[in-house]
Point group: C2
Chain length 164, copies 2
Amino acid sequence: MEKPIRSGCPINLTLETLGDRWSLIVIRDIMFGNRRHYRDLLNRSEEGIASNILADRLKKLTEAGLLSAAPDPSHKQKTIYSLTEPAIELVPLLAQMGAWGRRHTPASRELSIRAQLLEEGGPPMWKAFMKELRALHLGARPPRRSVTRELNAAYEAELAAGEG
Amino acid sequence: MEKPIRSGCPINLTLETLGDRWSLIVIRDIMFGNRRHYRDLLNRSEEGIASNILADRLKKLTEAGLLSAAPDPSHKQKTIYSLTEPAIELVPLLAQMGAWGRRHTPASRELSIRAQLLEEGGPPMWKAFMKELRALHLGARPPRRSVTRELNAAYEAELAAGEG
DNA sequence: GCAACTGCTTGTGAAGTGCAAGCAGTATGG
DNA sequence: CCATACTGCTTGCACTTCACAAGCAGTTGC
């Protein structure tokens, strides 16, 4: 019993796979925070996702082809979640979401460093980031990871600042 | 009793106001379909939103400052809903959503004319469209409405094709 | 061997969604 | 001027999703 598709409108179709409170949060944490394991996503998420919701989203996103799950060679119980190409191509969407939230949301803290970096960098930076994500998650040959490291650092810094 | 904000991350803040199944659908129909009245949004929506959900979203989006509601001079019972500037600036986000859905969604019909137009037009077209939306919804002086008409026509054509 | 950790499930209540019906106040056509 | 249709919603009820806390079998490190 698959749920029926409501319309063929691309905006609607995107909403049908990502239009809920948590899917994009999970992808954000994997993408910008490089959280690759279940417990990482569960405990180090700023918003505090519930464990059953996280399990459900990981399952659905994997089934939808946005994530892949692979066993961790270094630990028999660990699963490594990776972004697939469709998820990597969400970078422009997440960049626009960040830009909008930064501008039009009352409580958006002044130091939205990562969103600001992504906004100022624009499409060229997005593309560089996507290229690096492909290396990190799809097994392409790894370049010098400058953009990724910069964005991850900004993400972690904001997390730390948010808890202070 | 306001619901608490989960984090100051701009992506999360955007999701807190728009991260549900229907909010962006409503904005899309007002934006691209120029549906300005409750019954228009209710009956001519491709996805078939429920009346109570529509009422709730119109209320919440108005409270959030994304829509404005004004009485219709020509009909004492009608309310005209208009996009405010924050909603108009969702154009790039919706364009990216459409572009992603068109590429990465299995059931995305071949004729996603509107999404394709927005994708090919890129940021210059988005800006022209936003300018026209400002005239239409914020009372700025109206230009020749070429982009709006083109996108609306594409939207209606797809709706008609979807029902065939 | 034992505590800490692994991904994930279960139980329970609250919140959101989906569907059908209805309601008071207009407009409209004859 | 009266029946009819239309206006923006509301109500009631079933169903699904979400949220929070607790727990569980297997694995690892000491």
